[in-house]
Symmetry: C2
Subunit: 510 residues, 2 copies
């Protein structure tokens, strides 16, 4: 039996690796599409990508592959691999088995309907947003919610659909626990943000709105990405309108940023954010590429890596003590009158605003909590689509004290729901929470990081992340990983403490 176990295991791994090749090729085409593909090439590009995705899906749901997986999954408890449930072999079998089951639970018809509804949904959403007309989007949204609810029911086998949907992005996450954490974050955050409005000191944000030539921003971004540890032999940095990070192979990570000549944080923190994602991908074990031990664990943990570098490192004073001389050199005089302290305060400005993607580190999570609460209500039926705009405006008024004069800048601002991404939003805040918690533990383990960061030495921090997060792949769930690395369950405290202490120093009072 052992012989046959090993044999099945090798077959299954080879099948999954083959399927990862197709996926990585489709990803490569999408990277090209978003970096510089000629305008008129888009129709055929869609054909190329959908052909590869279809071949990939066929491999993923192949019956013989499924049988082998089922056999392995059944035999696993009788092997020595069951002694170590987080070992590579057990993790591979359990992970691939889970993926296969999930892939097969959804009928082809439902997958097709959802795909069509979300492609159309995004087009309708785009037009509705431009026309500032929620009613034009409502029917499409209703249909998408119904389809996602059906998918959630099938995946959870009659349980909570939303739980099953979250599980897609955050495998193993428990919605009730998540709700608890988000609730413990909400009120303190609302109060913190409100207090800062009337604080005795206020930042001078205009420092960041000066003229920063793009060429200088490119140089600065490259310096930062390289110095914090993004490996340019195994990746590259490009520009695009909607920044992202994608992995085209075990040694081919592409990050993309966007520069605004009059808003320095866009390009700089955008680069640090994507480099954080990229360094996670680069820290996965290449010999397990395409298999669970070499795959990222969840969107929340992926986001924790980007947020850690962007916020915990990039918005710290030691970081600006290191970076400012370099920034001055890139912008010939533009920042010469600034001190690290002035920039540090400016990049930590907190101002309630309407648009999520432009929000600061503190209010950002309130934007997410609003969406998390609303999408649960939509999914359970407690909130009807036609009542969504009112509920949205109401929540913004209550949590952030702002109200949008237009649906375009309100309920229609995000593409996610039109694309069927229910359960996706909370992973952003999960990332912020885990980032603060990881950073705290790294500081505890490594001693204060201030000195090394001020010297531009980020190797110890990156190595800590490699050891505690990256190299584990999917061998633990996101929640297990946090607990293992930080000795406590995910909680709102580290983030709240980090924000409070930073803002206390900067804004005074409170």
């Amino acid at each position: 039996m052992n012989q046959s176990f090993e044999n099945h295991f090798a077959h299954v791994c080879e099948h999954a690796r083959q399927s990862a090749i197709l996926q990585s090729v489709a990803d490569a085409l999408e990277w090209d599409e978003r970096t510089g593909m000629p305008h008129d090439a888009s129709d055929y590009r869609a054909v190329q990508v959908s052909t590869l995705r279809a071949m990939h899906h066929k491999q993923q749901t192949d019956a013989a592959y499924g049988e082998r997986l089922q056999q392995l999954f059944g035999d696993l408890p009788q092997t020595e691999h069951s002694d170590d449930p987080h070992g590579d072999v057990a993790c591979t079998i359990v992970g691939l088995h889970r993926d296969y089951q999930r892939n097969c639970k959804l009928p082809v018809d439902l997958v097709r309907q959802t795909s069509e509804a979300t492609v159309r949904g995004q087009q309708v959403w785009d037009l509705a947003r431009k026309a500032n007309d929620f009613a034009a989007f409502a029917p499409a949204l209703k249909q998408i919610i119904a389809l996602k609810r059906e998918a959630g029911s099938l995946l959870s086998e009659g349980g909570d659909p939303y739980q099953a949907l979250i599980d897609e992005y955050e495998p193993g996450a428990d919605v009730d626990a998540l709700r608890g954490v988000f609730e413990s974050l909400r009120e303190p955050l609302i109060q913190l943000v409100a207090r800062l409005k009337d604080a005795p000191r206020q930042p001078d944000v205009s420092l960041l709105q000066r003229a920063f030539p793009i060429e200088g921003q490119r140089r600065l971004s490259r310096i930062v990405a390289e110095t914090i540890g993004f490996d340019f032999n195994r990746g590259r940095l490009d520009e695009t309108s909607h920044p992202f990070c994608t992995n085209l192979g075990p040694n081919d990570c592409r990050i993309l940023t966007r520069y605004d000549s009059h808003w320095l944080p866009a390009g700089l923190f955008g680069t640090m954010h994507e480099a954080g994602h990229g360094m996670y991908d680069q820290g996965l074990r290449t010999d397990w590429y395409g298999l669970p031990p070499g795959s990222y664990v969840s969107l929340g943990i992926h986001e924790s890596q980007s947020r850690l570098w962007e916020n915990q490192v990039g918005r710290s004073l030691p970081f600006w003590k290191w970076l400012l001389p370099k920034a001055k050199a890139c912008f010939g005089g533009v920042l010469d009158d600034c001190t690290p302290e002035m920039i540090h305060f400016a990049v930590n400005a907190v101002r309630p605003s309407l648009i999520r993607v432009e929000a600061d580190e503190a209010t950002y999570n309130l934007h997410i909590i609003i969406r998390f609460e609303l999408e649960q209500a939509l999914m359970s039926g407690a909130l009807q689509v036609h009542d969504l705009p009112g509920a949205w405006d109401d929540a913004y008024e209550r949590y952030l004290g702002v109200s949008s004069p237009t649906a375009a800048n309100g309920v229609l601002q995000d593409v996610h729901w039109s694309a069927g991404l229910f359960g996706y939003f909370p992973t952003y805040t999960l990332g912020n929470l885990a980032a603060a918690q990881f950073f705290d533990s790294a500081k505890t383990d490594l001693g204060s990081l201030d000195e090394s960061i001020e010297q531009g030495n980020f190797a110890n921090l990156l190595e800590w992340l490699r050891q505690h997060v990256h190299r584990h792949g999917r061998c633990f769930t996101g929640g297990e990983l946090v607990e293992k690395a930080t000795n406590s369950k995910l909680s709102a405290e580290p983030l709240l403490t980090s924000l409070r202490s930073r803002y206390q120093d900067l804004y005074g009072g409170a």
Copy 2:
């Protein structure tokens, strides 16, 4: 039967289109590999590309597909499509049937051995060239020649192996006819080149060796490519170390050039050359993409399009009357003392030299003729590999009057033979010959082109090429296409006349 014919035809076309998708995706990965892929990504990229190529080959040699093709091929004479052997339907069936037969004629083992031998061959060649050591390359070359000879014998079913190998790149070409044309070119060219050496006037090539900032060269190249008609909505221009042109879909043509800050012709003519290839690809009928009526006819005809724009247009006086003011604007003062006549003479400098890829328009063809003659002798066995260096040096001495002190700059200079590309070289000169012949006919049909070129109007010339070359795809052979467009068979005369007349004006005497 008609019903079943139409049905088979639709199936076969769909199969070929699917197979073109895989090919185009592999090409996209190779474009990325040559433009900016991270260094360490190369191993996995090879896996991705070979996976796609293997899937493509499997589709191309699928038995059921072959049976349908055989059926169609047999039925064709009984249908109305046989009335028009150059019509789209007949051309599709005949073309795909030919490709299928060719693909199936070579045993899998031979294909694999050849692939391994040429991958290794290129590595060995690279090392041998660096070490300036032909003997180190000789055993690999011997093996490759044996394998290609075997392939040629199988493909020609016992006939002339070299004829079958040429047929890969120049379908339908007749080696004897080709030999005749090349021979009628050789002696007049040798005499022409020799005469120019002692001509009363000589060009000042140093004009082109001034400092030309890369940024200005980029602007100039873009202006030229755009103005001659390369469509940037359906393509893009990038940089690479070995310029090329590739087509990633019906509306996605990528051209690549290379700039030398002290040699203007490299980037400028490189761009015109690749844009010429690109405009051919962009002139193919998109609704037949992936099928013979929408495919390029041969390497020689493809090359004729690049050479026509590079040499017939780009090295003409009217062109420089148009371009020079623009070039001056791109290089702030560097060319201010130049007249169009001075640049025109400089870009038409003829100097026998050792390296093919750096050769001028006249001597270039002598480099090719040498390779054409030597590879026939190697293939027939008249020349043994260990005698190749001597034969090479001897030919260079006789045809060009130069001799290389090193094998690296002599017999080891080209990668082609190490990659198994026998029969490929002659397509370069075929391209030069056809370019001159097409250009002559275009001038006859459109009246002198001097005036429109001087005004920067290239639309009439491009339209002539679209009508006479591009839109026919593979519905004619290269030879038929030349004859149809120019009312005479391919001959050396138009090129010789073009060169003689241009050099007579410039060099005087003779």
